[in-house]
C-alpha cells in the first residue's frame, strides 16, 4: 500500500511528483462476487471498506451509477455530531463519532475532521430545559455535552446577535464539544481508496437496472455493464431507495424522497469557528476552511426526486441566517444546490437484513446521513457478514413501524416532510 506521508510528499517533491498512483483502480466487473453493494456514496463505500477490513470479505463490488461522491456525500453541510436523545440513536451516533476521531489514521487519508464543536441555541426557557435534558441523556449514553450561557457565546461567536430585542432572543445553548465538521468528498475518496487497496472492485458508471432472482431469493444484479451474480446484494442508495427497491418488486416502503437545499457564501475572513444552530427556526451554519459560510435549513417539504429546490425555502433559510448573524446580510451567496433525502416515517434510519432473502437494506437517513457514514458502514458490514444486525443497529429494523417500535427523535409522527 502506497502510504500518504510527509516522507512521500518530500520524496515526490524532488522526483517530479511521478510517484503518485490513482487512489482507486477502474476494474472491469467480474461475473460473480460474494457481496455486491448498490450505491457508491459514503455509506456504500464505508460498507465495502468495513466488509474488507473487519470481516475479511474482499470479493466485493460497489456499483455506482455515476461517479464516486456525486450524490449526498458531496452535497451535505459536513456536520458531524452525536447529540441525540433516544436510546436507539445515541449509542449508534456516538460509535460513529469514535470512528470519526480515528478516521484519518485508519484510512491513511486526511478527512480533515475538525472537532470545532456544535452549539444548539435556545431561545425560550422550555428550550433550555429540553437542552439540559438532552445533554444529560447524552452523557448517560457516553457522549459529551455542556450548557453554554450568553456571556460565553458573546466571547466565542462575536457576530452572533445576542441583543435582548432580537425576535428570538438567545438564552443559551447546548454544546457538544467533540462535534465538528469533516471534508465530505475526502470521506468518500478515503473509504474508496481503503476498500480498493483491500481488493474491493469499485464500478463507476455501473447503473443497476434490475435484480437477478431465484424465486424470492436475490442472486445478483443486472447493470448497465452486464449481469453480476452475488451471494449477497446490499442496497444503499439513499434518495433512490424507492426506485431501486421497485426493481426488486418492493412497491412500498416507510420512505418518502424529499429535497434538501444547502448554501455557501463567498469566502470571508474567520467569523465563526464552531457549528451553530438556530432554535427559533431551523438553521445550521459553519464556516469552511476556504472561508465560505456553509448552511442549510428545512427540507422543501414535498415529495421530489429533482435535485433542485424552490425559492420559498431559500428565502426562509436566508432570513434565519441573517437573524443569527446580522452582518451576513451584506454577504453574497455563492452557490446553492439540492440533494434527495430518503425521509423515513419516524426520522430514523433502517439498517437491516432483507426484506428479500439474499438482500440487505440501508436507507432512511433523512438529512442526517453524513455524520453516520462510518457507523452506518461499520454496522451494515456486520449485518451483511453475520446475517444479523449488530446491537448498535438492532433497533433500526424495517418492521419496527408495523410492530410499533418507531424511533421518533422529534416526536413528529408519520409525516416525513416534517422530520
Amino acid at each position: 500500500m502506497a502510504e500518504y506521508s510527509a516522507w512521500q510528499v518530500l520524496r515526490n517533491a524532488v522526483t517530479g511528483n511521478t510517484g503518485w498512483k490513482p487512489a482507486w483502480r477502474k476494474p472491469e466487473p467480474k461475473p460473480q462476487y460474494d457481496v455486491v453493494i448498490i450505491g457508491g456514496g459514503g455509506h456504500g463505500l464505508s460498507t465495502a471498506y468495513y466488509l474488507a477490513a473487519n470481516h475479511g470479505l474482499t470479493n466485493v463490488a460497489v456499483c455506482e451509477k455515476g461517479w464516486l461522491g456525486s450524490g449526498n456525500i458531496g452535497r451535505n453541510t459536513t456536520i458531524v455530531r452525536s447529540n441525540y436523545l433516544l436510546e436507539g440513536n445515541t449509542p449508534f451516533y456516538e460509535h460513529s463519532m469514535k470512528l470519526w476521531e480515528n478516521l484519518s489514521h485508519e484510512l491513511n487519508y486526511n478527512v480533515m475532521f475538525s472537532q470545532r464543536g456544535i452549539i444548539n441555541l435556545c431561545h425560550t426557557p422550555a428550550q433550555m430545559d429540553d437542552a439540559a435534558r438532552r445533554g444529560n441523556a447524552m452523557q448517560l449514553m457516553g457522549a459529551d455535552s455542556r450548557m453554554v450561557m450568553p456571556d460565553e457565546l458573546a466571547r466565542r461567536i462575536p457576530g452572533l446577535d445576542l441583543s435582548a430585542n432580537a425576535r428570538f432572543p438567545v438564552l443559551g445553548g447546548l454544546e457538544q464539544p467533540r462535534a465538528g465538521t469533516a471534508r465530505h468528498d475526502a470521506v468518500a475518496w478515503g473509504y474508496a481508496r481503503g476498500a480498493d487497496r483491500r481488493g474491493v472492485d469499485i464500478l463507476e458508471n455501473c447503473e443497476v437496472t434490475g435484480f437477478l432472482r431465484d424465486g424470492d431469493r436475490v442472486t445478483g444484479v443486472m447493470t448497465s455493464r452486464g449481469e453480476i451474480r452475488a451471494k449477497k446484494v446490499a442496497v444503499c442508495v439513499a434518495g433512490s431507495t424507492g426506485a431501486v427497491m421497485k426493481l426488486a418488486g418492493i412497491d412500498t416502503l416507510p420512505i418518502e424522497s424529499h429535497v434538501l437545499q444547502a448554501f455557501v457564501t463567498e469566502a470571508l475572513k474567520p467569523m465563526v469557528d464552531t457549528v451553530v444552530t438556530f432554535g427559533g427556526g431551523h438553521l445550521y451554519l459553519s464556516q469552511s476552511d476556504k472561508g465560505g459560510l456553509v448552511f442549510g435549513g428545512d427540507i422543501d417539504g414535498y415529495n421530489t426526486y429533482a435535485q433542485r429546490g424552490n425559492l420559498p425555502i431559500v428565502e426562509d433559510v436566508m432570513s434565519e441566517a441573517v437573524a443569527l448573524f446580522p452582518a451576513a446580510a451584506k454577504v453574497r451567496l455563492l452557490r446553492s444546490w439540492g440533494g434527495i433525502m430518503d425521509m423515513s416515517m419516524d426520522g430514523s434510519p433502517i439498517i437491516t437484513t432483507g426484506p428479500l432473502p439474499g438482500m440487505y437494506l440501508n436507507c432512511g437517513w433523512c438529512y442526517g446521513g453524513f455524520k453516520a457514514t462510518p457507523a452506518s458502514g461499520w454496522c451494515f458490514a456486520h449485518t451483511i457478514a453475520k446475517n444479523e444486525p449488530h446491537p448498535l443497529n438492532a433497533a433500526y429494523s424495517l418492521d419496527r413501524f408495523h410492530r410499533g417500535y418507531v424511533i421518533d427523535e422529534k416526536g413528529q409522527g408519520a409525516t416525513p416532510w416534517k422530520h
Binding site: T252, P254, Y302, N303, T304, H402, W417
Partner: protein
Amino acid sequence: MIITCPHCGPRDLAEFTYQGDATLSRPEPASTDQEAWNAYVYDRANPAGEHREYWQHAGGCRKFLVVTRNTLTHAISGVEFAPATGSSRRKRS
C-alpha cells in the same frame, strides 16, 4: 412552483401547505385490520414520476386540494378540490 388553485387562481408555493400522499385510503374507523392501518400510516409508493398529493391553500381560500405533480420535474398536470371539500362538499343543515 406555482399551484393553480381552482378557487383563487395561480398562486405562489409559499401560500400552500403540503399534506402528503393522496392515494392512500384510510380504513374504516371501526376497522381492526392491523395490516391495513399499518399500510395506511407508514407505507408509501414514493413514485419517481406522477404523484397525487394533498395541499391546503392555507394562505388563501384554505381549501384542501389534490394536486397531480411530477416528482422528477415538478410539473403540475392537475389541481382539483379534495373529495368532501370545496364544490363537492354537501351543505350542513
